[in-house]
């Protein structure tokens, strides 16, 4: 049966009968009969005889190179009628006969090399790397006009493959192998355009792996760049943080309806860019603005100046101009778990909102088991969530990266990070194809470059650091739902207003590529249907059992309320 198909393909002098006989011989060695349907493909819905596998494989590869390399071939293929695609052998042959028969494709002398690679599973192949190299050799000849692009694609695929293999060796502890793979990866980088796309991302990952294998003498990899500046440029270059802020503000605004005294706790104040919009919206709400208190948590400033207070002063000035009564308090803490609720001095009768944008994941620890055992040692996240619930907030807005970068296995984390950050970098590039005036063009390139540095720093932390140094422990929304639910918080649906606002924001921002989706009351923003960031809102469950130190909290609140009564003034509190 296979000989009749061979005639369709064309007489290939190298495709000697000897190969055929050898193939059938090895098949019978494995004990399969001549006409047996291949079990694995049958599971996928295709009926292919195991003796025809080699032929089908060659045909598929020729089909692929023909369709990729020749546009008109694809259109002419539409005129051919194909029957029963589950009969893969006949389908491949009819497709090939439908395309313009290209002598280069059909009688390829090197196809046997690849075919031999597939035909013999018993021959020793050290790694799939070599198969990829054979594949690359085969691709070199046809479709001359697109040769360089295909080469580059293959080089990129090879590079990715090298990176993953290197990560695998790192996980196994084989640092020699990892080092040699890394050198190969560096060589492969030279053949790929590192200005954009997969080349650029791969370059960053090669650097990160290098840093992991050979840690630099200065530990921590702390660059001189101010994290606030990096964050600000990331804010400007792409819509993720804006989306987070606007969605959170919408939820907070709706939760504050009807309350006269409101208190917002921001887990990471930075430049306070989220709050002008909230202040303005509160100023315009029907019924007049409430008394707004803002508590901003942030790292202590290195050079002695009080950065938190400066931000607070600016916000107060804005609030004063739109006539919103405003009070600010700054809490400086190096790590979030050092913060205690008494520092906020929540007054009784205040509506509290807790806002965390990309902060909660820093409190996670190593995942003990694949299922995430919940009876593990008390992680900082549990302590923090306990006192958050103890504040009885009207709304808790949580914005987190939509990725699983906290898996116990390094290889899994690495592969996840590779896909996640390449999508992120793609979106940065896709968004930066807007042209502006002369200066703004330069400004925009600078902004985009610094935003990339922000992402690179995040990515380096995922790849290079372990233990307490690894703070970028992203987890997907489903896990956060479980965790927050266990802590006593109930989900609040974000509503259509938030969705409409987010969609409008994206249309303004650049339009193409970004997509907002609603998942069970939470909004996610992604690039080309891959969600990258998620925003959700929660409230304290009224029936939740109070946390252990609830009694202490009550005492502290009584204590602080006396302070607040006398202290209720309008200028910002230091």
């Amino acid at each position: 049966m296979s000989s009749s198909f061979r005639s369709d393909v064309g007489t290939d002098p190298c495709d000697s009968v000897g190969d055929d006989r050898w193939w059938m011989a090895s098949a019978s060695d494995r004990g399969s009969s001549r006409g047996e349907i291949d079990g694995l493909l049958q599971g996928a819905g295709y009926r292919v005889r195991s003796t025809d596998l080699r032929h089908v494989a060659i045909g598929l590869e020729q089909l692929e190179s023909a369709m990729v390399g020749d546009q008109c071939a694809a259109s002419s293929a539409e005129a051919v009628v194909h029957y029963n695609p589950s009969d893969l052998t006949a389908w491949v042959d009819s497709m090939l006969s439908g395309l313009a028969p290209d002598p280069n494709l059909l009688r390829h002398p090197q196809s046997t090399a690849t075919a031999n690679a597939w035909a013999d599973p018993t021959r020793q192949r050290p790694s799939s790397l070599h198969r990829l190299e054979n594949h690359q050799q085969h691709r070199n000849v046809p479709a001359v006009s697109l040769q360089s692009m295909e080469e580059e694609e293959d080089a990129a695929i090879r590079l990715v493959h090298l990176l993953v293999s290197c990560a695998d060796s790192v996980q196994r502890g084989d640092s020699e192998m990892a080092g040699s793979l890394l050198d190969q990866a560096r060589l492969a980088l030279a053949r790929v355009n590192t200005g954009f796309g997969i080349g650029k991302v791969a370059g960053y990952f090669v650097d990160a792996l290098c840093r992991r294998l050979y840690p630099p003498p200065l530990c921590g990899g702390g660059s001189a760049a101010n994290p606030e500046i990096l964050y600000h440029h990331f804010y400007e270059a792409c819509p993720y943080i804006k989306f987070a802020h606007f969605t959170a503000n919408q939820a907070i605004l709706e939760a504050f309806q009807g309350h006269d005294r409101v208190h917002v706790v921001d887990f990471n104040l930075m430049h306070g860019l989220q709050w002008p919009a909230l202040i303005q919206a509160l100023a315009l709400r029907p019924g007049g603005p409430p008394l707004l208190r803002l508590t901003g948590i942030g790292p202590p400033s290195p050079d002695g100046r009080d950065a938190l207070r400066e931000v607070g002063l600016r916000l107060a000035e804005l609030a004063r101009s739109v006539q919103v009564r405003f009070a600010f308090r700054g809490v400086a803490a190096t790590r979030l778990e050092h913060v205690r609720p008494w520092m906020f001095q929540v007054a009784p009768g205040e509506a509290v909102a807790v806002n965390t944008v990309l902060q909660l994941h820093r409190l996670l620890g190593d995942r003990a088991s694949p299922e995430g055992g919940d009876a593990a040692a008390a992680e900082p996240i549990d302590t923090v969530l306990a006192w958050v619930v103890g504040l009885k907030p009207k709304i808790v807005t949580v914005v987190e990266q939509e990725a699983d970068h906290n898996k116990p296995s390094f290889l899994d984390r690495f592969t996840e990070a590779l896909f996640y950050y390449s999508t992120m970098f793609d979106s940065l590039e896709g968004g930066s194809h807007r042209s502006g005036g002369h200066q703004t063009q330069q400004q925009q390139t600078v902004v985009a470059a610094v935003a990339e540095a922000y992402l690179q720093r995040e990515m380096c932390n995922v790849v290079c650091c372990e233990g307490a140094a690894r703070v970028e422990r992203h987890e997907p929304l489903a896990r956060w739902r479980d965790r927050l639910g266990r802590a006593g918080l109930r989900a609040v649906h974000l509503g259509s207003n938030a969705f409409k606002q987010a969609s409008m924001l994206l249309t303004l921002f650049s339009g193409e590529g970004y997509c907002v989706e609603e998942v069970d009351g939470c909004l996610t923003l992604g690039w080309h249907s891959r969600p990258l960031i998620s925003a959700s809102a929660w409230r304290a469950d009224d029936d939740a059992s109070p946390p252990r130190d609830h009694q202490t909290l009550l005492v502290l609140q009584d204590h602080s309320s006396s302070v607040v009564d006398g202290d209720d003034h309008l200028q910002p509190a230091a």
Binding site: A277, L284, Q323, M504
Partner: protein, 171 residues
Amino acid sequence: MLTREEGEEEQEEEEEAKGRRRAFSINDNVDLLAEILGRLDGRSLAVAGCVCRLWNALGRRDSVWEAVCHRHVAGGGSSAAGGGCSTRSVVAALGGYRRLYRLCIGPALDRLAGSAGGRGSTTTTAAAAAAHHLSLSLSLSLFSIDCYERLGGRQQPPASLLFLCKPVDVS
């Protein structure tokens, strides 16, 4: 004889007065002019400000731009008296309607019109805005962020609205 001359003079005066009434000048009716200019779109209003000093002064009146903003934005159509007052004071505090249009609403409308198929006429700009429901609240939020960035005198120029810069057409 005297009465006839007086009558003729009166008749002439009446005719002159009638002539003056017929030669109506819009520049004598500033409020009417403001009402009319407030129905233009932003670009036309800015161009109108180049006609003469009076029109320039009117083109700087925030109330005229307020009408323009409300006309081009969903959710700001007919503002109730109370709501209108507080919005006015907030917008004035943040920099005024003219600035709001120049920095936020104008570029946003251009962006929306561009994404709606590149039709450049002004009527379709308004239609595009209505179709996309550009909300006043979103524009105000962006405006407030920009205003906040200008406070405090930072070294870098405020850039949060950079993403709204319309592309330069060099065709």
